[in-house]
Symmetry: C2
Subunit: 329 residues, 2 copies
Amino acid sequence: MVQSKILVIGAGGVGSIYGWRLQIGGAHVSMVCRSNFRTIKDVGFHISSKKYGDGSFLPDMVYSSAKDAFEDDQKYDYILVCTKSLPNIMNPADVLKGCKFAEGTVIVLVQNGIGIETYFHDAFPQNRILSAVAYIDTKQSKDGLIEHGERNDLSFGLYMPNKLEFYTDQNRKMCNDLVDCFIAGGAGAKVSENIQRERWFKVIWNSSFNPISVLAGGSNSTELLNMDGMENMIKDTMLETISIGEAVVKMPLSNFSNEEIFGMLIYPLRGRVPPVYPSMLVDFENKRPMEHEVILKNVINYADELGVKTPNLKVIYQLILAVESKYLK
Amino acid sequence: MVQSKILVIGAGGVGSIYGWRLQIGGAHVSMVCRSNFRTIKDVGFHISSKKYGDGSFLPDMVYSSAKDAFEDDQKYDYILVCTKSLPNIMNPADVLKGCKFAEGTVIVLVQNGIGIETYFHDAFPQNRILSAVAYIDTKQSKDGLIEHGERNDLSFGLYMPNKLEFYTDQNRKMCNDLVDCFIAGGAGAKVSENIQRERWFKVIWNSSFNPISVLAGGSNSTELLNMDGMENMIKDTMLETISIGEAVVKMPLSNFSNEEIFGMLIYPLRGRVPPVYPSMLVDFENKRPMEHEVILKNVINYADELGVKTPNLKVIYQLILAVESKYLK
């Protein structure tokens, strides 16, 4: 097997865990680190993981910008983009601006939300894009210090904006090679036959718990679910996202009933120790931009386009914008 | 004309201005002051008013509790209740708990919101209740120091929970006497033939600007209206309240079109100097309870009862409850 060359952009909780496991799985892993560049270049990452135990991770190469990563005509098989998607702040594809890479290089987008691929497809129309949905519980508590939980699973599929496209043998192999890399590194990975459906399923939780935790006075999952009536509002909001997603992917988002979905996404959080602090809540508390465009706005845009009513998401989105504009000012 | 004896309960911005003008108009005015009792007893109110100029107001009698105001078998023609209505914190009628007053004493409720009369009607079924809607811009900036703007108008009408009731000559006279007192004191006052309609009209603004200003990161009117999309959300929320109110009073809430209503309630606030800080926002900033029960919950209850959809108000109410529970904790 030829060693895959992988560039990871975004050296936070998600990027570092994937880089680490891919290197352990045998890949050559380069990383673009911004705020934590000095630390990672000098000593790498210290990782405390419930799934893998403690470890340290020194990438094969560390760069302070994506441009530097291509300076000496470096070639990569896969570029993993693990940054937040904030199209209202900057074009998400600008993380690769000015980088010259071959048409064969595959861009793997490990990002939450809906419509995240369009920005990269517009900027790099020749490159194949893998749309990835990550199920991972990880955060960088300080520069180079990563805390990881029990879970590390990834689904991805070829982004096919053109309905006439299909999986060629070459594309199948490209996907399977990446799956093999992850699995060799002990991560769960699979090719999804309908990645958009999985993406929509994931946004059910993100579009409800994330913004509501911020708007409810900054409340974690336990605080939210202890408030009278809040669980019902979360459910109503989830049902809106489910309706929109179903209209988009033209099939149910899962094989589960709504009540079973609540049983997966809500009930386990009742009194969970420790409580969940949704990523938007963490961003809010740190006065950082929130991913409301891809998690709410792009969802609402589909609703409007397809004539699906979504009053809760609209109010929630409007209020999130307002809250953010106050603290980013 | 016999001098009216009036007891004002709630010595904040509203109670003090009404007490002042009623005294100037010739009434005997007693006041129940709680937190500011010492100051008012000693030196009275200092009032800075754009409408009336500066002045000071020493009530004829000052009491530290409603009970004291009835101690020596005092009689009152009218009891003006100018406290906030917070039925989720305590029964609003408890401000008169243990007070013995004659059946002829009229309770005048100068409070915002819907359903505020029921608490007093249940507690004092023998007494007539006047439901009053105040149009006044006033606040107590510190104990005994009152700032008042340009406006001081009051509409009121007999609370008639029983559809068979009507204005007797005696009731007409009782209302007109109070109007005369206010007008003698330079306040605008009138008897409304449909006070519930006016009450609903006023709650159009209160149920939208008030909670939204809190949820939008604590934003005043100018900040709100400068945010993309926020004006539309406020309008949608107002339209919900209008629909509910119309279903309750069984007629339009005014003779104005919706666009004319926006022209009265929203457009004048665009860039207004100084901006408006809705009362819930002030309560939020001072970590005091907000009047969400009578301004939101009782409105939503009517919607549910009458089958009117009100998604915005439901989300807004739920989030306001959450925000309050966090800071009151």
